[in-house]
Symmetry: D2
Subunit: 382 residues, 4 copies
């Protein structure tokens, strides 16, 4: 019905992230005035039944069981990678070589080597690219970025952030295979460091600049688990928990921690930033709120303000409902699609680009090296 230029999307992967991406492509045009009209052209999964059902559910025009057929298709404008981490590099490089714009789930690669090759591929090919660090586009987080950029916090002293879950505490939980590949180091690259801390780090680099050095510790609480693919009990090689001290280039100090053993927390991603003039807190479990303390308020009336981020002058919110009515998790992906398509129409990438993703990988790599070597490690520059 629309007269806009159509943009054909090919999505690789039909899991949890395949759903969030499909929904984002499908819903973005309903809420944002986009310069391009995304079309759910192809989706691929390894098994035909799964791919077919997924395609029908989301309205894809066709499906494939080999991702290469998506990447090679002349019909496809954007290759969107929503498959497990061990497939990111090969697909992204092939897509870039085929001249497609590339969107990739986080983390970029399983290690900086893979990520560097991915960056080189998209930059050599000159194709638009983005990593799905979706939490940047929670309206409250985007507002935090605005406040920092406006200088409202002043000199930053402290950054503290955690990502706490509790879903792997049971020793009966197997590793590997469908829905559980995040426990398989071969597929995932690492445990919570690459899965959860990568989110904390991406946001932190965006809000507070580069991290200079880290001192980390990691732990695997449950040492052996049954592997779903081999059927045998095998050593667990991922990190169940990871924490590190950091110094940022701007002189501020930080603590980072992620775990899947924090009983009572499902996905408690929080950050707090303390500046000379103001402080900010945010929490994924109540993602529609931003906590703000402004030291310039009158003395008697200073306090932490809980801002309900649902007004038209809050980032992204004029596209949604009316004040007081909150949005949720999936909306962050919709915002990301909207921003990417707007950038693409201008021939540009939207942040976080693959190069931004590589910066995060350099930090996660330094964290793992520090934990293994029990020493402070300097973070490579990207």
């Amino acid at each position: 019905m629309s007269a806009k230029k159509k943009l054909n999307i090919g999505v690789i992967g039909c899991g949890f992230m395949g759903r969030t991406h499909s929904n984002a492509f499908r819903s973005a045009p309903n809420f944002f005035q986009l310069p391009l009209d995304p079309v759910l052209k192809k989706v691929s999964a390894r098994t035909a039944g799964k791919a077919k059902a997924f395609a029908e559910n989301w309205g894809y025009e066709s499906f494939e069981t080999d991702w290469k057929r998506v990447v090679e298709s002349p019909d496809i404008d954007i290759v969107d990678i929503a498959s497990p981490n061990d497939t990111h590099a090969e697909i992204a490089i092939a897509a870039a070589k085929a001249g497609k714009a590339v969107m990739c789930e986080k983390p970029l690669g399983r290690n900086p080597g893979e990520s560097e090759a991915m960056v080189k591929a998209v930059e050599d090919a000159g194709v638009a690219n983005m990593v799905w660090y979706n939490y940047r586009r929670v309206p409250a987080v985007t507002l935090a970025k605005q406040l920092i950029d406006e200088g409202r916090l002043g000199r930053i002293f402290h950054y503290r952030t955690v990502f706490l879950q509790d879903w792997t505490i049971s020793s009966d939980l197997p590793q590997g295979g469908e829905g559980l590949w995040r426990l398989d180091a071969g597929v995932a690259g690492s445990g919570v460091t690459g899965d959860l801390l990568a989110h904390n780090i991406d946001t932190a680099l965006w809000l507070n600049g580069n991290i200079s050095e880290v001192s980390a510790m990691t732990e695997t609480f449950i040492k052996r688990r049954k592997h779903n693919l081999t059927g045998k009990e095998e050593p667990v090689r991922i990190d169940d928990a990871s924490a590190f001290l950091a110094r940022f280039a701007n002189g501020s100090l930080a603590t980072f921690e992620a775990t899947r053993y924090a009983r009572g927390h499902k996905a408690l991603y929080t950050f707090e930033i303390n500046g000379e003039r103001a402080s900010i807190k945010w929490d994924l479990h109540d993602l529609h709120r931003l906590e703000y303390f402004d030291h310039h308020d009158e003395g008697r009336l200073r306090g932490w303000k809980s801002i309900h981020i649902t007004d038209g002058d809050h980032p992204y919110m004029k596209h949604w409902w009316v004040p007081g009515l909150q949005i949720g998790y999936e909306h962050t992906f919709i915002h990301q699609v909207a921003d990417f398509l707007c950038a693409l129409e201008q021939g540009k990438s939207a942040a976080p680009t693959f190069r931004d993703g590589l910066r995060t990988d350099y930090v996660t790599s330094a964290v793992l090296d520090s934990a293994a070597g029990r020493k402070w490690v300097t973070v490579r520059g990207a």
Copy 2:
């Protein structure tokens, strides 16, 4: 692509509610396994430009400028009324007579007379029907209903509920016309009593049973406002604030209050229920949480528990993401579509039906009568 029976939807109205309904029909099949496949067939608005743009945005097959063409169309299976209150009765009655299933925005009519005629029409025609009291289908509210039905609260002593907004405090705000018809008593029927308290009452009747009698007061703080349609300053005839005491049939006592003059609150719909054994609290500003106090907990460890309603065993939530990731406002409409289509396929209505809506209107009517007469008023039975 789907082999399911298609169900053609005709939506009347392109405002705020037109958007929430359109999104619900469009998204429900992506998240719920529905027995019927809703098709956005027609939409109508009074002006062609608005209707056309809306139709394009949401993917309607065609648009109309006269709602009668939607109601009369043989293609249409469900007539969905998302237009201002003064149009509800006429459209609903026509749709019922045309044998369509009818979904109607709340409140049902502007007064019990209109609502009774609407109930009669759908019951005479034997068509499925529902009123969009969407807050019943916030997962936390549905869980509250489950807990009550399981007898966990025991004898109920108290119900207290408010709906607080602050968007009409400025005396510069005009009344009437596009986006402001809620301030025009002729169109809306009443002020906050029918707009906001109707939500509180619908939920209360569902959770706590019938209300026997009420003592109410209402107030119009700003007595004259410019009317957008006449261009002249005119008396304001809606109630800006409305509060009432109530006795439920089950012997419990209640306080209800709604206002658009509660500075600091955007859409703070809350309720609390105190039972002999347990208590429940909920709050629309953090709709993904339910507060629960269980007196049977060990004495030292009793307290209000904040339940983050994002787990697979919470109502509706297995259809969404993973634990810890919240949904928002629009999802309540999606749930309502899903439930209505499932009921429809069985030849039934889903609650709240028009008759349920009439019960709410009898209470709002008693509230207005009580405030006008400064006396306790018995609520009519529906």
Copy 3:
């Protein structure tokens, strides 16, 4: 050791309130620079054993078993009434006639008749007097008063307040006698209306001015209980729950509610005031915080601020510890003693005076009349 003029205190009553008052007289001079030096001279209770133990515990110089011996004693400067409600009038009137300053626990009398006689007695005698509505002197509540007096809230639209407890839900709880006289209407005068709502009303009159009229309902959920003094099951004549709508003289609307049947709440006294420019909330369960919303904050950054009332520029707080360290319940009585002694040295009463207490009693009386008569009742002026 002090050279200040000594002021001899005679306390009547050794219960819960006897403890809070004794502690207040004993501790106030440690934290406040007072112009007078209070001496715990005499205490009285009906049984000698209880009086003796109490006197020893708190350091009273002597004890009595007949309150008249305290009132008549030439040594006594202040008679402080901490005994059950049915003794207030007789003691206060006798003390006033004896020329003593009189402090009286709330409520003043069991009914306006008693209270009027008490007001007359102290005013005729020209003695300083005060009622122990201690919550006015929670620092957060005093700050609320300051903010209102500074005009920060602007025109007031709404006042809403509750006092929720759950300690009488069990039907096994007897009425009357030691520790349970609050359930005996003969001693207490009324149930939650005089016990709990009196607090809500005193604060409201102070913060928001006079109440013009009320519409109330009351309920006694458990109709018969064993009476501890007779040993027999007897009708319960107090109100277990009481709620009312009110209109203030300033045009604002209010809801008030108190109950001892709100499972999960121990002493949840809260109030919220919505003004044109700002709103305020407070809650006894976190009494060291004040919630404040200022509409004049920049739009994007508006929100409810939680002010931790522990700074030196907060009311009373420079006398305590350092920022961040909270005080508790008993401190409100210490503040009251400090203010009363400062006023007394100037020959004045400190608010709330007996006349202020009578104003509250006129409201509670109107509430009970309204509930009995099922009609709006105009509040008498004091």
Copy 4:
């Protein structure tokens, strides 16, 4: 008036801690049935005017300007050290040699060497001793200890704790002298490590057992400040911020952080413990609450419970008021006095003893060493 054995207290120091201790000795007998009757016998401060005024305010029988006269006095049973850190060792050792029971403000010494000598002195002399780590005796914290001891948390995975303040952010604040000795490394020993983290560590050792090793970083944000004693700008030698990673002997991981540069926090001491079966959180800014998550709750109803620690079955609370009425900061010192006197009457020390304090000092020392050496450091056993 009491027939109990009197116990003469000699307090050294008239600052902030002198006040909290004096109030504790003075009030404890009013609320606790103690086996001994504490008498405020002597207080000392360096200047006579200050000592005299303090003695009069609190009712000490006499005052001194030389602490040795307190320690040597045959009248004194307990020497209580409330003076700056650089005086602790000398006074404590002298008091022990004089056969007095010794209570000492935290931290014990400025470094492990001083603390070891203090432990040796009290153990050689066989005198009762205690360090004023008062936060153990916040009722909510004591309840946490009970829950852990009962095995309710199961295997512990994580401990995280911070102590955040913001009072030294201004570069105009001088160092040293009255009220500011905490900024003078010569007097204080260290900055936030010994002042704030010492509290976090004491509680952690109590709740979670020994810490094996740490990796730390510290920072001094403002490098030079005017010194109040010399009048000249001098280098700041304390740590303004200190954070560390730790491994406990029980295998759990921890993060600790303290700072005086966290804008918006006055004294935000928090800890959270994640066990296999349950988790606990606590926060000094709302010290009367404990947050508790129990995984054994029914799935649908799991959540963090906010327990209002004001009931008679909560630790220490039966001595205070009635449910719902909170206590505050100073009460922790009163509880400590009560426990110490009860232990003393049995000829014992109450925890934390000097040896317990030394354990904390070994951790703070390891933290400072780790930060200086940029390496993991093993904590000495005490």
